[in-house]
Amino acid sequence: MNMIHNLPWLFLLLPLVVAAIDWVCLNKHPRLAATLSLLSAAGTLGLCIAYLTGLQTGTPDTYTWMPSSLEQLNLHLGLLMDPMAMRMMLVVTGIGLLVHFFSIGYMKGDSSNLSRYYAGLSIFMFSMSTIVLASNLAMTFIGWEMVGFSSYLLIGHWFDKDSAADAAKKAFITNRVGDFGFLLGILLTLGLFGTMNFADMSGKAAGIAPAVLTVTIICLFCGAVGKSAQFPLHVWLPDAMEGPTPVSALIHAATMVAAGVYMLVRLQVSMGAEAFTETACCIIASVGAITAVLAAIMAVQQDDIKRILAYSTLSQLGYMVMAVGLLAGEAAMFHLYTHAWFKALLFLGAGAIIVCCHHEQDIWKMGGLSKRMPLTVLCFMMGTCALIAIPGFSGFFSKEAILEAALAKYPVFFWVGAGVAALTTFYMLRLCIVAFMGPAREHGAEHAKEAGFTMALPLLVLAVMAIISGYGFIANDLVPANGFHAHGFELGLPFYASMGSLVVGILLAVAIYGLGGRTKDPLAGNCISKALRNRLYIDALYDKVLIGGLQQGFAHLMQFLDSYIIRGILCQGIMWLTVRIGYLCSWIQCGSLRAYTLITGIGLVILVLLLAFQF
């Protein structure tokens, strides 16, 4: 077969076809749908491993989707198969497969349409693969919108719950704001660089004015702000936790939210670091740092186990974006990669805990879980250790890489990073102490049992990855960056700062929460805690200003236009006029034969006048 070079297209086609089959044909057969989706995830993972271990099939064909008379305006569909993309694919398909597997246990007994759920997962796999493998920005954008769409579907999976439906809408609409900027950025890129292909961009940034370049990069960055939930647009991610927990793990922790970082690094690689001007870098790094700090602060006073993890995701994404802004793309990708494993682990662990506690998400209603479900708690603790960067765990290495890069460029970001690390330690230990130690506080936690096989297996695999994925012997081959080289322990300021923040965090947590036994949060009750629980009033501000002010004002204007201009004058006015004319003319339609004859006669006269004399 000489079509073998087109084998990589299976990465996209397999999940897409499976999603279509699930959705259209298998509505009544959720088990079959689950099996198909699982097989497609396994198939893409196998294909990915085959390519990473040296399978060569040549360059896949590029298809022209929308031909244009101008060569540079042609929209191509092509695959970019460099190591960065393939290793990213490993993360996506690997975690995807585990999440599919976990879903089988987690969604057991759920009364909603599970075929729809698995179809959504498969669509997501297709969309994410499209972003990762896209050879040009247009195709990235297609995948970008598709992940937004699949995320919408999955957040709103339990759409009969109002909060889930609202969260889905919020995520989708918030993302649209970022996407608008992203689209502008893509068009600017097309105008400035003359191409949308990543392969053709290198070296073309040199002749462009820095100010214009800055605007372009910031516009592109807007897309990442939306998708990776950075500071002004971060509000959707905590709400997205309304979706099923495996979805949170796959989409809102490990892969999709990392797409923004991946896209920025991809641009950095293909445009060259010189395209990222000083100003643009400063803005990107600042946004990342602000997000990291704000999210970490807000996480301190959350009670919902998934929300704590969501804020920690925000905070870690802030780290990554900060690293991109510091032109440390490799460090960003390293952190993305380790974070994907341990955050997926944390979320899946949280999912297992939630299921075993009979769908209880409040940590203050748990407690004592370490005795009842030791394996799950152990895996969760591995993830926690990686997240709070205990030396030897994967998170330690990647966070160290970011801190080093920050210290080398802007020390202020280094100190921010260190501070956030202390906060991270604090809130994660708070979660662990409250939920796992001491006595059970509620009925659900008392009767918790160990999770089943389908949930335990992914946890174990991810726990192993959370521990070892940071070491050079694995990371050098798997970190999604072209030619990555990890370094081991190095004594220096970053190490000391990291250790210091770790110790501070642990001490604070133990001092405040003890070793279990507390029944309510000693920090709660004051105004700071209230502000933190209310997310620093950012959501409320958006509600007031954007929704209450702008949107309502615009809606009033539109309503005015609609009710007076369109309905009043255009619709009813025309209707009124028509009715009037109808009444005026209605005497003609009197129903009397004589009148009709007369009118016919008049018509005849008019006709003769018109035709014969051409009046």
């Binding site: 339609q589 009197c590 129903g591 009397s592 034969l593 004589r594 009709y596 004859t597 007369l598 006669g601």
Partner: protein, 105 residues
């Protein structure tokens, strides 16, 4: 001799009177008579044309045949029309066209 124009004028006047009757009269039978008059007016014009178009003193008989056809059709029309009038009279007890005012209903 009488010019063609005078025959045409006669035809036109007869036709117009017939038209006026159709428009004015209420009695459907009279309306029907007026229709017949309009057809006859057409016959007059046709016969006049038949003479006028003739070559070397022989009329064009095509025109007269056409006129004959009109007469035949008129006869059939009268048969049907009068039957309709009878039917209408049965239904409405009247042959006035003012009785035919239910088209709007």
């Amino acid at each position: 001799m009488i010019p063609l124009a005078h025959y045409l004028i006669l035809s036109g006047i007869l036709f117009s009177i017939g038209l006026a009757g159709v428009l004015i009269r209420k009695n459907i039978i009279v309306v029907f008579m007026c229709l017949e008059m309009m057809l006859t007016a057409a016959n007059v014009a046709l016969v006049a044309f038949s003479r006028a178009q003739g070559t070397a003193g022989v009329p064009v008989y095509d025109a007269q045949v056409l006129s004959l056809f009109i007469t035949g059709i008129a006869a059939a029309e009268v048969a049907i029309g009068l039957a309709l009038i009878v039917a209408m009279f049965r239904a409405r007890r009247s042959v006035e066209s003012t009785a035919l005012n239910t088209l709007k209903d």
